[in-house]
Symmetry: C2
């Protein structure tokens, strides 16, 4: 099955399944079922079976899914059974928090290049990585063939940075700047803006 045939909404649920399987595995469980996963995730068991059926037959009637096996298969589908080099652009408070967050490296996302425009930051070493001048972004990312980037710049320069990243081969951008980026349709963008999440919840508050 090729990429274009699986709905994007299904792809969006796979990391959620993977996260639940990781937790179950860490808790020492060996088998699970679409019912158990569904209850944990608030997703119908039929939906989970249908999502997984895009990629093959992973469960057995009676015993359900072997957790470790299903985990490894989904990792492979999502291409996270390997390490990814990540470029981080912007080393303000947010970029520093991103760098300190342990969750990326344990999941195979290594921040290999850090860029900022502040002369006071450029040249400093952060856990073995030198903060580089954003003026060298194009050269460094081209040389290191980095495909994944995290934008943590001020909102005013985020689009310009995205344009540069895409021009040198970055295909996936996780954008922390609070702005919707305009990108070609073959480029992946995901957003982290906690204010947007809070604001959509307050609508429902009484």
């Amino acid at each position: 099955m090729t990429t274009s045939e699986v709905p994007d909404i299904v792809i969006g649920r796979l990391p959620i399944y993977l996260r639940a399987l990781t937790l179950l595995h860490e808790e020492g469980h060996e088998f699970t079922s679409s019912q158990e996963l569904g209850q944990k995730l608030g997703i119908g068991s039929a939906q989970i079976r249908k999502d997984l059926s895009f990629f093959g037959e992973f469960g057995k009637q009676g015993t359900g899914y072997e957790i470790k096996y299903l985990h490894d298969q989904i990792s492979k589908i999502l291409k996270v059974n390997r390490d990814w080099a990540v470029a981080l652009i912007g080393f303000g408070a947010l970029g520093q928090a991103v760098t300190n967050y342990g969750g990326f490296a344990t999941k195979g996302f290594y921040i290999e290049a850090i860029f900022d425009s502040d002369p006071n930051k450029i040249g400093k070493t952060i856990e073995g990585r030198v903060i580089q001048d954003i003026a060298n972004l194009v050269e460094v990312i081209t040389r290191q063939k980095i495909k994944v980037a995290i934008i943590a710049t001020p909102v005013q320069v985020a689009q310009q940075v995205a344009d540069q990243l895409i021009a040198v081969g970055v295909q996936a951008i996780l954008n922390y700047a609070p702005i919707t980026l305009t990108v070609p349709s073959n480029i992946q963008v995901q957003y982290i803006d906690p204010v947007v999440h809070l604001q959509r919840m307050t609508y429902y508050l009484t």
Copy 2:
């Protein structure tokens, strides 16, 4: 129009419109159109008009939308034209980054109570707020009538913390712990897990 009649997916887009209108306003623009907004956001102009029509008639044939007016109307719809007190549970690296993030307060979300279980942190003052013992969570949140909470605890205790929060009247939870929470259907939960966002993008990388 009452809450139940507007699709949740429409509510989810309103904060995105609000963010774009804020930027346009800050850039000094006075008027915009569903076409301009649509181009900036990668959303069809007809979709934008349809979304807004759930709540009234905000634009004029010819001149389009007055940015400040539409901004204020959407703020009102989302109930963010007021301040919200927020409880933060967990003051590790992530909780500290959340506290330092300036974006919440400027949008009306004030972190009024901070909780942790670490005796070395409890009692310390962070920008005027004392870090409180998580053992006092129920009492403090009940007294302060807080409706919005941010969970930044280790994954192992996130569900238990959510249960406590909901029991004392919290209606909206922004969860940074990498786990899907099980909550009653009248409770709002939103998730921030950058790894999930990265993993759904790598699927598409070549």
